[in-house]
């Protein structure tokens, strides 16, 4: 308890000192190969010099949430910093059986109506695919990144990262990326505000969002 108080104080103090360093606003727009603006793309900036990063996501921060609402994962994609803890509440009045076989984090969790599950820590960076063993159309993603500077693009395909000046690798991820766009990075030097466009080499895979149009009138 005492230790955590000290840790919190250190974070607080260091963030006070950091205020002057967050000089830059990096605005990124993501389009596909046909210049269409792409929402819901994870964009993150990894500093080349990792020592310039503030502390890793505080293990005390349990604020990340992957909920179950109307037999769907909400949000569909959750981005967290590596080592974060994620809560799995269940807003449905039925049982869910959430699982992942992904190398970055493999687990299973039985979520009962009104029950409380312990949060899960995502120690490794990478993609975690979530399913439900009862409702086989449910699909969700937790994407864990090794940087505190990340966000998802809005409906206009845009995202803004507040980060200190420095050299970065700008990366992006979506479960719908085709092979030509996987594991790509853009080298970037940030000095003051900056605009950047990411254009994919290909289109996205179809989202099959109609899987979300489920209703109560089904027996499975």
């Amino acid at each position: 308890m005492k230790k955590s108080f000290i840790a919190q104080s250190v974070i607080l103090v260091s963030s006070l000192f950091n205020i002057g360093v967050y000089a830059a606003e990096l605005s990124v727009t993501v389009t596909d190969s046909k210049n269409r603006l792409l929402p819901n793309i994870v964009v993150y900036a990894e500093p080349l010099d990792k020592s310039s990063m503030p502390n890793e996501a505080a293990p005390l921060d349990h604020s990340a949430v992957m909920d179950q609402i109307h037999k769907q994962f909400v949000p569909h994609i959750l981005v967290v910093q590596k080592s974060s803890w994620v809560n799995f509440p269940n807003s449905d009045s039925i049982k869910h059986h959430v699982y992942s076989f992904s190398p970055a984090k493999s687990f299973e969790l039985r979520l009962y109506d009104g029950g409380k599950a312990k949060p899960i820590q995502f120690e490794k960076a990478g993609e975690v695919v979530l399913g439900c063993n009862i409702h086989d159309w449910m699909l969700g993603y937790i994407y864990s990144v090794d940087t505190p500077w990340f966000a998802k693009t809005n409906k206009q395909g845009a995202v803004t990262l507040d980060l200190p000046d420095g050299d970065y690798q700008l990366k992006y991820w979506s479960p719908l990326l085709q092979n030509a766009d996987k594991d790509k990075a853009i080298q970037l030097t940030v000095k003051g505000d900056k605009q950047q466009t990411i254009q994919l080499n290909d289109e996205l895979l179809p989202a099959l969002a109609d899987y979300e149009n489920n209703d109560e009138l089904t027996d499975y």
Partner: protein
């Protein structure tokens, strides 16, 4: 064996409640006012010896239509149970169990396998998807699903494997199911004598379903029992069914099933209860045009029979329905047309079995609150059953009309 399984499940249920590991309870109590208009008083319910095709009688008014409770929970990891207990004020047995089964659904990568053991319905219906195998659309089920409710229940083991499209970035999902079962030897008895009917009366485990005494006019009184037990095992043989289910996103759902109880039609018990050789194909389709509007349809075609061709009963049976359902805010409007037919194929002139008919069902249901659901249903059915003429001065063809104002309390 079935009894033992049921008591085990009941015990498991109570243990489970005691330790409150996980239990999900859903219940429905359905009450309402029924106004049945039949042109002859012999058209009352088969359960009361009538030859009509609707459940309620002409003098019925305020009725408790049904009360049922569905309990689900986990026993251990990957193994869960489900039990449905029900109460009906009519029929031979008022309280009973309609389904009781264990499900083993281990977590697996890719293809998903599942085992189901116990007493259950083959999942061939798209109409009866609500709690306790009820319909969220109309109060009276289609002719096909009314028949499944009263005469088709298997005590067996089902294996199914599912390829979930979403995991493969595909809009198509598939499930294949196959089952072996015991019991269900009398399947088709009601179709051959009473004919198709429209109701919501689900038969309970070990319950007897009585029907009119069509045998009083034959050479031998009590030639056959005037009732059946849906889970009865007469010949000791296993039956089987297999089905495929194709789903396109959450929009289209198609289920094709073949059922065969493999009964020996010459096997007979001391009370002249025969095993009925029954096999049929069922094709069910649902398509959602948008969030509000959908259509459902089902077609069934099969044969049932027992005894010899000269002295027994053999029939072909066919039915289909088409239903449109529209949801507007908290209101759901459904309209269904049913067509049904039984054709006699045996050479026994003393026992006519031909029947055919059609019906129109219009229903409105209003979700007043999460607990209260109100609604009304108008049902009009024409049925022409040849064996009604066994009675002197009775006619084969009749119209029946039924209006229901219903309230459902759900918990």
């Amino acid at each position: 064996m079935i009894k033992r399984l049921t008591s085990f499940l009941t015990l498991a249920l109570f243990c489970n409640t005691a330790f409150s590991r996980s239990i999900e309870l859903d219940g429905i109590v359905e009450v309402g006012y029924v106004d049945a208009a039949y042109d002859k008083n012999w058209l009352n319910s088969w359960m009361e010896g009538g030859v009509g095709v609707l459940r309620f009688n002409e003098n019925d008014t305020l009725e408790l239509s049904q009360a049922l409770i569905e309990a689900r929970g986990d026993l251990i990891d990957d193994l869960s149970y489900e039990v449905v207990a029900q109460y009906y004020p009519d029929g031979d047995q008022h309280v009973g169990i309609s389904q009781a089964f264990l499900t083993y659904a281990p977590l697996s990568r890719g293809l998903k396998h599942q085992l189901k053991l116990g007493l259950f319905y083959p999942a061939m219906s798209l109409e009866n998807v609500d709690t306790g195998w009820t319909s969220p659309y109309t109060y009276s089920f289609s002719a096909i699903n009314s028949w499944l409710a009263e005469e088709v229940r298997v005590a067996g083991l089902e294996w199914s494997v599912t390829r979930s499209g979403r995991q493969y970035h595909s809009p198509h999902s598939f499930t294949f199911s196959a089952a072996l079962f015991k019991g269900n030897d009398p399947a088709g008895t009601l179709l051959a004598w009473r004919g198709w009917a429209l109701h919501n009366r689900q038969t309970s485990l070990n319950e007897r379903v009585y029907f009119a005494d069509y045998f009083q006019f034959g050479m031998f009184d009590k030639a056959f029992p005037d009732h059946l037990q849906v889970t009865r095992e007469t010949d000791g043989r296993f039956g089987y069914y297999a089905g495929i289910n194709w789903r396109y996103l959450q929009q289209t759902d198609v289920r094709l099933y073949y059922y065969n109880n493999s009964a020996d039609p010459l096997a007979v018990e001391s009370n002249w209860q025969y095993a009925w050789q029954n096999h049929f194909l069922s094709l069910a389709v649902q398509h959602k045009f948008n969030r509000n509007f959908r259509i459902l349809a089902q077609w069934m075609d099969g044969q049932t029979g027992m005894g010899t061709y000269d002295g027994g009963v053999y029939t072909d049976f066919t039915s289909w329905y088409l239903m449109a359902s529209y949801q507007w805010d908290k209101h759901r409007f459904s309209a269904r047309f049913d067509d049904f037919e039984v054709v006699e194929t045996d050479a026994n002139p003393a026992d006519p079995n031909d029947s055919h008919g059609h019906s129109i069902t219009l229903a409105w249901r209003y979700q007043y609150s999460p607990q209260w659901n109100l609604g009304a249903e108008w049902l009009h059915v024409n049925s022409d059953n040849e064996n009604r003429t066994l009675w002197r001065n009775w006619q084969a063809a009749h119209r029946q009309q039924q209006v229901m104002l219903m309230a459902q309390f759900r918990f």
